[in-house]
Amino acid sequence: MIKDAAISFTLKAYLVALFIFVFAPIVTSVVFSFNSDRFPSIPLGDFTFHWYELVLNDPDMLTAALNSLFVAVVSAVIATAIGFCTAYSDYRYNFRFKGPYLALALLPPTIPLIIMALAMLAWLSKIGLSGSVLSIIIAHSVLCMPFAMAIIRLRLSQMDSSLEAAAWNLGASEWGAMREVVIPFTRPAIISSLCLTAAVSFDEFAVAWFVSGLNKTVPVVILEIVQGNIDPRVNAIGTFVFLTSITLVVIAQIIFMKNQKNGKAS
């Protein structure tokens, strides 16, 4: 009994330590974003919205936010669409070189980001696309696709293999079965993939920094601000970015967990 209690206590302590470790920097940043002092120091100064006002009134910041949002949404849609096709081709067909095909599809996250970013820059400038918003979208779609594929593939693996054939048997063409059965079945995974890939793109810095040129995204602007001096505006921006990302990830997680439960019940 004592031993059990000891284990339980240790696990709880570990969990608390883990959360402190992960969230302390973020909480600090949020706290200082409301602090009137120029430099982050204890004791805190007065409570203020000053830094938020500065950020919201900065046209560069607004442009960057719109850029980030646009890039995140478009890359999420492209990555999820390609990810769905890849996952479906894996589910439905058997072909030669399927192993290498899947390995290739899952490759991007294993490449060091800096290498990926350099390669992207070299390639995109060669075809005359570097420095445009489109180039960030291309790079982020590549980066996000494997996540989309993994999520959708997991859902497809729970699908009864006769489900699609049952739709054909009841008069659905291949496209009809795709529209009426495969997509509805994978819908939760598609939605969580959209949220997750949007979050990945929204936060991504290294590749965006290399290929963005003048069309900066939020993480790129943050770096530029902190490179010059210590500026509490960064805390305010950070709070925004954190809220956006965590919201997307939480939505993805909730939908995905619900879908896992339904998958088991059916």
Partner: protein, 366 residues
């Protein structure tokens, strides 16, 4: 008889080097309840999938209602299938599942709703029309699957081991539901199963398949009493199979010499035997008599009791002749007292000549 609804002509189905169906010829008529039965891997499910268009024949022709179906896509034929896994759509409720086939055929929403409701009510699912599939029991899902397949009012319904996932008492009940439905609708049911009791209880005709071949087609009674060959005799079970050579040919009977003794069997009309031809015959386990004294019946063989299997009113005795041939006898439990079975004691198994039935060779041995 009228033109068959389904015609298989020289149908062969190969998967790479494996031949799932070897040259099948079969006619299925309108309003028939046909059961395909056989061990797993015998080609029965492939046959059903060929009929539904989920597989394309490698050779031969499949005709449905006179029309050549070989290249017709699954969604272009009216051959609804009730799946072994049921394959209900988990994201739709009971009614939406049933409506699916109508939706794909472009029926209006209110027509779909009306028909789906009608079929679900007919199958006793009136209370559960708007239920999610995950909230239904096994038997209820079964009914939704049936309604979904029947809602388009097809001429033929395919069923792939639909009862294999149900509890024993539900199987009996669903058998009743299916037979009644088939009789009321008057449409053709093609039913695939490995269960002899399901096939015999429901089907008008049973097709026994083995190793990709049709081994025998006939009524359940024919298959039970007159198995065509050794494969069927063994698969149907509870048959004593004896092999030997012809020793004496008479008009009505043949005398067969086997390692267990000499026996007389009816001389089959459709085949001619000569002395020293090899021959096999079967005697159903429920047509033999077991006695303690040698009997004066036409055929009698001495044997030892090995074990017994008690399943209620009927007991199966497993015996062994002096040469090691395995024999079986089915005896009414109430008659068992007369024999008082004890292990390792000699008994006599006897049967009249007319109970024996000469077997053909398996097609694969020819």
């Amino acid at each position: 008889m009228t033109e068959p609804l389904v015609k298989f002509r020289d149908v062969v189905k190969r998967f790479g080097n494996f031949i799932a169906v070897k040259r099948m010829d079969l006619d299925i008529y309108e309003g028939e309840f046909v059961a395909f039965m056989g061990p797993s891997g015998c080609g029965k499910t492939t046959t059903l999938r060929l009929l539904a268009g989920l597989e394309t024949p490698s050779e031969g022709e499949i005709r449905l209602d006179g029309e050549l179906m070989n290249e017709v896509k699954p969604h272009e034929r009216e051959t609804p299938l009730v799946w072994q896994s049921l394959a209900l759509f988990p994201f739709l409720n009971a009614r939406e599942n049933v409506e699916f086939g109508l939706k794909m055929r472009g029926f209006d929403a209110d027509v779909r709703r009306e028909k789906a409701t009608k079929w679900l009510e007919r199958l006793g699912m009136g209370e559960f029309i708007e239920r999610d599939v995950s909230q239904l029991s096994g038997g209820q899902r079964q009914r939704v699957a049936l309604a979904r397949a029947l809602v388009t009012e097809p001429k033929i319904l395919l069923l792939d081991e639909p009862l294999s996932a149900l509890d024993a008492h539900l199987v009996i009940r669903m058998q009743g539901v299916l037979t009644k439905l088939q009789r009321e609708l008057g449409i053709t049911f093609v039913y695939v199963t490995h269960s002899q009791s399901e096939a015999f209880a429901m089907a008008d005709r049973v097709v026994i398949m083995g190793e990709g071949n049709i081994q025998q087609v006939g009524s359940p009674r024919e298959i039970y009493r007159t198995p065509k060959n050794r494969f069927v005799a063994e698969f149907v079970g509870r048959n004593n199979i004896l092999s030997g050579t012809v020793q004496n040919v008479q008009t009505d009977t043949l005398v067969v010499k086997t390692p267990s003794g000499d026996f007389s069997v009816p001389n089959p009309e459709d085949r001619t035997f000569q002395v020293s031809d090899p021959i096999s015959f079967s005697v159903s386990a429920d047509l033999v008599t077991i006695s303690v004294e040698r009997s004066d019946a036409d055929n009698c063989v001495e044997c030892n009791l090995i074990s017994e299997e008690f399943i209620g009113s009927v007991v199966t005795l497993f015996l062994e002749a002096n040469d090691g041939t395995e024999l079986k006898a089915q005896v009414q439990e109430k008659e068992l007292e007369k024999i008082d079975p004890k292990l390792q004691i000699s008994y006599y198994m006897s049967w009249p000549t007319r109970s024996a039935h000469v077997l053909e060779n398996n097609p694969s041995e020819e």
